[in-house]
């Protein structure tokens, strides 16, 4: 299953890159995808950490939601930077995280970092360390909407 979705996304990647549909290039593409999947399998069997993120509708919905958050946070941060008196109050705190899977934690940590004004500096068992440029940033994370969204994805 994991390799199936990998194969599909890689094939898509190939077609987007290539843009040529001659039989030669398509067959070469198939061989290439197979080679990469095989290498991926080799890597998986050495590090035993296969990825299991499948592209799904929910994921795209989440990304859309995240994008909106990012826009809002960006505007806020841009104002702070351009403001003559530089009104930032950096904080560095602990944020409890209930997500348990590696993928969920990764997605959450990256989403936090992606949102300007908040930055994940460390990922531990039950909590993250978050550096934030404003108190509002950390407050909104504490409210836990983002975590809830990720949980909805089933991670």
């Amino acid at each position: 299953m994991h390799y199936l979705s990998a194969t599909l996304s890689l094939s898509l990647f190939w077609i987007v890159l290539s843009g040529h549909f001659s039989p030669l290039l398509l067959s070469v593409g198939a061989v290439s995808v197979a080679l990469v999947v095989w290498l991926l399998w080799r890597m998986d069997s050495t590090d035993r950490q296969p990825n299991t993120l499948h592209p799904s509708l929910g994921l795209f919905a989440y990304l859309g939601w995240l994008l909106w958050e990012v826009v809002k946070a960006n505007i806020d941060l841009a104002k702070r930077i351009l403001h003559p008196s530089l009104p930032i109050e950096p904080t560095w705190t602990r944020l409890d995280v209930g997500l348990s899977t590696k993928l969920g934690k990764t997605l959450y940590a990256n989403s936090i970092t992606l949102t300007p004004g908040t930055l994940t500096t460390d990922v531990d068992e039950g909590h993250f360390m978050i550096h934030a440029l404003s108190r509002e940033g950390i407050e909104s994370l504490r409210a836990g909407e983002m975590e809830e969204q990720i949980r909805k994805l089933g991670l």
């Binding site: 890159l17 826009v71 941060l77 841009a78 930077i81 530089l86 970092t113 500096t121 550096h131």
Partner: protein, 114 residues
């Protein structure tokens, strides 16, 4: 229609450019490493999508449009990871963030800056 697209892409490019420069200013202006990471994130998370979307609107319809999307996806996937890793590396290397109303940390930062 084409005028509208033109205007829209112009607006996106302009806003993206402004944000990009803002991020750059932040990169120079902000006091310590950890806050600079935020500034860098600013240029990359919103400016890059805006600029690339503006570009996409100007391009003719082809698979190249999807390539722009790929670039965007790649930037959005790698940048937070890189930022996070850098922050983590900095912590690992003994840096501590500068925290508001923390005079000691501020003093330390100032001395290391000189």
């Amino acid at each position: 229609m084409s005028l509208l697209v033109e205007l829209l892409s112009g607006a996106l490019l302009l806003v993206g450019g402004v944000l990009c420069v803002t991020g750059g200013i932040g990169l120079v202006r902000l006091p310590d490493f950890f806050s600079r990471v935020h500034a860098s994130g600013l240029t990359e998370t919103l400016a890059a999508p805006l600029l690339l979307c503006g570009l996409m609107l100007r391009m003719d319809w082809s698979l190249d449009l999807l390539k722009v999307l790929l670039i965007l996806a790649f930037i959005l996937a790698t940048n937070p990871t890189a930022s996070h890793s850098m922050a983590k590396a900095a912590l690992h290397g003994g840096r501590r963030p500068l925290i508001a109303d923390d005079a000691d940390a501020a003093g330390e930062n100032a001395s290391s800056k000189s």
